[in-house]
Symmetry: D3
Subunit: 129 residues, 6 copies
Amino acid sequence: MAWKPVEYVDASPEVRAVYDDIMQTRKTDWINNFWKVLAHDPATLKRTWESIKQIMAPGALDPLTKELIYLAVSVSNQCNYCIASHTAASRKAGMTDEMFGELMAVVGMANETNRLVSGYRVEIDKAFE
Amino acid sequence: MAWKPVEYVDASPEVRAVYDDIMQTRKTDWINNFWKVLAHDPATLKRTWESIKQIMAPGALDPLTKELIYLAVSVSNQCNYCIASHTAASRKAGMTDEMFGELMAVVGMANETNRLVSGYRVEIDKAFE
Amino acid sequence: MAWKPVEYVDASPEVRAVYDDIMQTRKTDWINNFWKVLAHDPATLKRTWESIKQIMAPGALDPLTKELIYLAVSVSNQCNYCIASHTAASRKAGMTDEMFGELMAVVGMANETNRLVSGYRVEIDKAFE
Amino acid sequence: MAWKPVEYVDASPEVRAVYDDIMQTRKTDWINNFWKVLAHDPATLKRTWESIKQIMAPGALDPLTKELIYLAVSVSNQCNYCIASHTAASRKAGMTDEMFGELMAVVGMANETNRLVSGYRVEIDKAFE
Amino acid sequence: MAWKPVEYVDASPEVRAVYDDIMQTRKTDWINNFWKVLAHDPATLKRTWESIKQIMAPGALDPLTKELIYLAVSVSNQCNYCIASHTAASRKAGMTDEMFGELMAVVGMANETNRLVSGYRVEIDKAFE
Amino acid sequence: MAWKPVEYVDASPEVRAVYDDIMQTRKTDWINNFWKVLAHDPATLKRTWESIKQIMAPGALDPLTKELIYLAVSVSNQCNYCIASHTAASRKAGMTDEMFGELMAVVGMANETNRLVSGYRVEIDKAFE
């Protein structure tokens, strides 16, 4: 019932075109399982890759900051695969052990205070509106 | 049943000491409702402030990056007060409209792909282990 | 598009029977909006009430402990209505301000450490298996 | 510390009655682990099964649509067992690969836009009230 | 600090083009706040609309089923704006009160059993792998 | 990419001091992986332990109630490690099988009704304000 990765040699031209763009954009000859499994639905594969490519490109935020934010959300959502893959991507983008430790501390604290706020039903300050 | 903010004039010396430290650390003469409501439990007020103070101080990650991560988690958790307060804090730390837009894009996309990963039950690549 | 509460005078006999049982079980002459809105789907109203009645009855855990757990989950899920109603129910069952403060502290901390565990990908100790 | 499935031969008459009803309702001679583990608490086993039986029966929504909704929520919540079991149940109810792909796309997109809405603090349109 | 909707008359040509496509695709002369707020980031507005347009188009699943799934996820995530807007969209696509009631029942039950599964740490049946 | 537990013999004096305090406080000669992995960031290890030590100490709520609440949140969040470790801790604090069954029932029901409340957009009763 699990979805097997679609390897390059078995992929349709439409899927291969996405794989090629991923490898060229990331300057690698390797595709991780996320994309190889999404390949079962070529429309979702293409749309998701093009969105990621646009969103994760350098902009007002640099690539490392974007990767840290991606990792923060994945940790907060407790998505194990995503944590593994975006820890790897963050390291590639320059994340050190110290940065990872500080990232975890912020994610943990945000999850704690989000609940304190809800439980105490804190009203939004006028200064924030 | 809602918790009223504890104003400085009504606060115990223990609570005032925390308020004073918040204002001094943040170089402001203003305390937002989160702290004033936590003041109903001075032990939690003190522990939470001291943790936040330690965690949000400049380190391997700069204060703006930490604020962006805090905001990202709060948005992902859909905590309305936290979004309002940490949007304000992020702006104070230097977040521009462009940065906010990119932050939202990454948070949205991470939430999307976290679920694609789960639904397709993607196995973790050996390269990530 | 919002769902209006179904008042007793406007309710069908099937719905009234549930309202009567709620009031008798809780020793009150008042029904809160949750039930009055669920009344739009009498099957769900009846099933939900009977489940709640069974689950929240005294057992190996006393009613206050059960209410605290209900409140803890509602706070963790950030369900505003549920926090309001179960704070009220917890107080009725004996929750003091001190208990509420300690409950919030545990809920906050659990949400924090849940994410530290995920982010660091902590392996389950053999002693726990 | 893990909960072992309670096999039919080892089950109490109360538990066996639920197992029998599950097998008869589902026209199968097989019980999956969820029920066999819930059997440690016969009251919860019985209540949960009777609720599921009522809720998942054909009504205004057909069984396939109900299974897809169940799967959508389980994917959104990232419950691995639930995704495995409800993918199987959805397939049995008629879900094709194409339907699964479209379901995942909707679940992913809903999770994305839910956060965009929160982050931008979008006000509810009067037309929706 | 909140984001004001960008009205058509104030919008850039790039944003107007998206608004026009939304109105034409949905056969309406009205744009809801979600899009008008996303307009602050035209790249995200365009990408999100094009993704939604592709994903919500009729396919192996009909538009009503897709809307119900979107609503189910939004309810499960407790996104108030999204619940309001997708309840409206579901009604427009044909959702009756009975269907809404059954949808809520399934979403509620899935959230319940997802946690029973986790708490009891149920192992995935071999038949599901 | 996974984080290895830091064993006592390999730990710095700062980390050993925390380990010693954990063992003394818990009257055990054993440290579970959570702490041994957090040891990669001694500041977070120390702060988290001191917070937990303060929060989980007997107060207005007894240690068993606190453990049950911790477990309830961990189950609701579906954090597998946390469920394993806090099930063990709850048992040590006196949780019986019957208590566990009732805890699960409450956690499941709270997750269900939290979503019914959201989906039906139930307004908060004046009596709760």
